[in-house]
Structures are given as structure tokens and as C-alpha cells.
Subunit: 226 residues, 2 copies
């Protein structure tokens, strides 16, 4: 599903240059349930931003579903992203003036698809937020906002979901609930999941674990569920 | 240090009314190292916002160091807060146009105190962010931003630190590093720490654990370090 070839991402210039991701090569098969782990600052978010078409590598190439993405212009890149990828950001990024349901159904509304409200409410129930569809983000707890972001990523049934620390603000029951939802989508519909996480529970549910340190892959092993 | 008497916080009106905190009474002694735990949405952030003078209870009263805070006007309340309390927010709240060091030393700069830069760099080193003092928040990973927020809360050596999910985005090594820093401040300088957390590691280091569910205290027990 994803070919990541010699991807490097560098920030800044000269002595202050930061090598956030250094020459990473990986293959992601369709249907994977894979956790990226490693110390804070090791490059997990940066690497997933490249794979998720939110950013372009400094060098190297990425292709999603056979489509080379690292050479595309911004408009074409966001088309690929919109069609194929759902993203859960490390800092949620909900729109403050929209309700939970409006945040979730936004992608459908923009695509002029119908049935958005019903689908949003269904997903909000599945992530444990029954009855909270009409709250705004500042009327929700940190963990509740995080779960709205999970529902939003899933609304268009993307082929690939990239989830950056999806359980960081959740108690173990809520974290398990959304992880089980993701495993079900993975098992029944073949949705590919790539996680960035520090949560041992997510690692136990992963079938593959890719370990980063200082921007490099230092280990690629079976996860708890392999 | 803190007297929390029959504190209730309610949002909204009528049928949509949310009882985020329901009639909580607690005493916090100076020098405590206490974790507030409970499911997502159980009221931890809301309760700590009342104690930290960021919000006022709907009913009930709070006093910090003998000063009744729940009846104060906004100006007086922010004076108490500025003098006595350091806050680590669940979503960090760093100022995007300032560097990490400028964010940390801001409170000293506003109080026209000198030595801010040196103190900021010292604290950034203590939370594991050597060399990152001049980066802006969007040039830092999620966990690095969270640690800048920790350093900022400690810069004025407050009597009370309220830390809302301080390790949520940290790997276990970074989380242990900042928790050890906090334990040292607690042991050597008597700084009181109140945590909201889902992290078992923080609970193991706490001497007292207060368990919330649906806005009520359902358990008040010894922590791992009691
Ligand atoms: N402005 C508001 N209007 C209505 N309800 C609110 C508002 N702010 C918070 N709430 C509700 O109050 C309850 C407590 O929220 P709080 O943020 O204190 O939970 P929490 O224990 O910190 O959860 P988490 O672990 O997810 O951070 C939640 O059910 C939340 O939806
Ligand atoms: N715009 C930027 N300029 C300079 N350095 C940057 C920039 N953005 C990120 N970095 C650096 O790149 C490195 C990788 O960051 P990244 O966000 O990928 O880490 P991470 O593994 O997701 O960490 P965490 O677990 O804390 O979320 C970090 O050292 C960070 O400071
Ligand atoms: Mg990250
Ligand atoms: Mg909270």
C-alpha cells in the first residue's frame, strides 16, 4: 500500500540543521496494523506526516496505492490525501466553531455527500460519545476531543488511517474501546492503520512494531498480536 | 494548603445541564504529591481548574494558603494565581511566536525580574530539552512542547503546581525524567503537586490518589509511594 524509499526530512540550515528523519526505507502492506514507537523527538510524527501527504520529504520518494506522491503539486497531493487517507493529529485540530458532529461530517459536507449527520452520530456513538454530538470542542474534556478526532478520521472510510498518539489522553477503558473499533475496521474492511504511540496497550494490539530513534528505523519486529 | 468545600461546577441550563463536578470536599496539605485519576470526562480538569483559580465554582468555596478564592474578582484571582500557582495545561498552550526559552521566562519578564533567560535554559535542560531553547513550538515534537510547558510552570518556583496530564505525550524515559524533577522539588522545596493523569507510572509515584467518576470523589487512597 505504501512504499517509503530513502525518505529524509531535514529542517533548517547549516549548523542548526535538524535531521528529523534520516534515510528511511519501508514497505507497508494493505491491511497492516502497525505501531511506530520511539523516544519523544525520534521522528514518528515527521515520518507519518510524509506518509500521510501532509508534508513532502527533503529527499526520497513515497507512493500510496501505486501513486507516487512525493513529486506531486499541492493540489494533486491533497486530492490523494482526501481520497485515501484519514488522519488523527497529535493535537486533535478540531474546528472550535463547529460542533462535534459538524467536525466529524465536515469532509462529507465538503464533498457534497448526503447522510453526513447520521454517519457522524453513528461514529460518535462508536467512540463512546453518545449524546455529545452537538457540543463544541471547548465543551468537551481532552479525551472527548481526542475521540471526536478519531471519529472524524474514519468518516469517509479511508483505505489508510494514520493515528498520531490516539490514546494519549484516554483512560484505559476509552482507549481500549477505540482500539477495538480500529481492529474491527481492520479485520472486516481491510483498513490499514499506522499508529504513532507511547502506549503499551496499543503496542500489544499491533501486529508489527517499527522502532525509531534519532530519525532512523532501528528495529522492525512483530507486535503483541502478530 | 487548599481547602475545597462542597465545590460544584455545572455547565448549561435545563435538560442539557452538565454536572461536571458535584459537591466535592477535600483538603490538600502543603507538600502533597497527589494524583487525580478517573475516566475521560469524569471532571479532573474541571476540578483542577477551580483549585488553580482558572475558573470559579458554581457553588461551594475554595481557599489557597488561607486566602478564600472563590469569592474574588478576576484581578485579585489572577494575583493569587500568579503568586502561588504554576499550571501545566492539558493542551500545553504555548505562545507560537515565542521561542521555548521566551515561553518559559515570560512570567519573569512580565514581573520585570531579571535572570529569566538563564533560569529558562536551566529548566529546559532539566526537562531534557538541552539545545532547544531557541526553537518555536511548531519546531518541536508533541512531547517536546509538553516539556516546555512543564518548565514554564516551574519557573517562578510556585508553592503549588497543577499538572494536567503532564506525561500524556511522553515516552517512559522522558516521563520518568520530569516526574523525578517534580519529586525532587517536592522533597527538597516542599512544592505541592496535584496531577490529573491516566498514566500508571505517575500513579506509582504519587503518595495519594483521589479517584473521580461522574464529577464525584469515589475513592481517596494511598498511592504507590505512600
Ligand atoms: N463548557 C462546557 N459545557 C458543557 N459541558 C462541559 C463543558 N466543559 C466540560 N464539560 C463536560 O464536563 C465533564 C468533565 O470534563 P473534564 O474536562 O473535567 O474531564 P476530565 O476528567 O479532565 O477528562 P479527560 O480525562 O478526558 O481529560 C465532561 O463530561 C465534559 O464533557
Ligand atoms: N520545523 C522544525 N524545525 C526544526 N526541527 C523540527 C521541526 N519540526 C520538528 N522538528 C524536530 O524533529 C524531530 C522529530 O520530531 P517529531 O515531531 O517527528 O518527533 P516524535 O517522535 O513525534 O516525538 P513525540 O513523541 O514527542 O511526539 C524533533 O527533534 C523535533 O524537535
Ligand atoms: Mg509526535
Ligand atoms: Mg482532562
Amino acid at each position: 500500500l505504501c512504499e517509503i524509499n530513502n525518505v529524509t526530512k531535514t529542517y533548517g540550515e547549516g549548523a542548526a540543521q535538524v535531521h528529523a528523519v534520516k534515510d528511511v526505507t519501508l514497505t507497508i502492506e494493505a491491511g497492516e496494523f502497525t505501531a511506530f514507537v520511539g523516544p519523544s523527538g525520534s521522528g514518528k510524527t515527521t515520518l507519518l506526516n510524509q506518509v500521510g501527504c501532509l508534508d513532502k520529504p527533503t529527499s526520497g520518494s513515497i507512493s500510496i496505492d501505486g501513486v507516487g506522491t512525493s513529486g506531486l503539486g499541492d493540489k494533486a497531493l491533497s486530492q490523494v490525501r482526501g481520497d485515501k487517507i484519514g488522519f488523527i493529529f497529535q493535537s486533535y485540530n478540531l474546528i472550535p466553531v463547529l460542533t462535534a458532529a459538524e467536525n466529524v461530517e465536515l469532509a462529507l459536507t465538503l464533498a457534497k455527500e448526503s447522510g453526513g449527520r447520521a454517519r457522524a452520530v453513528e461514529l460518535l456513538n462508536e467512540v463512546g460519545l453518545e449524546g455529545l454530538a452537538d457540543r463544541r470542542p471547548n465543551q468537551l474534556s481532552g479525551g472527548q476531543q481526542q475521540r471526536v478526532a478519531v471519529a472524524r478520521a474514519l468518516v469517509k472510510r479511508p483505505a489508510l488511517v494514520i493515528a498520531d498518539e490516539p490514546t494519549a489522553n484516554l483512560d484505559s477503558a476509552s482507549g481500549t474501546q477505540i482500539l477495538n473499533l480500529m481492529r474491527e475496521l481492520n479485520a472486516k474492511h481491510g483498513v490499514t492503520f499506522l499508529f504513532s504511540t507511547h502506549d503499551p496497550m496499543v503496542m500489544e494490539h499491533a501486529r508489527r512494531i517499527v522502532v525509531l530513534r534519532d530519525g532512523e528505523v532501528i528495529e522492525d519486529r512483530a507486535g503483541g498480536e502478530a
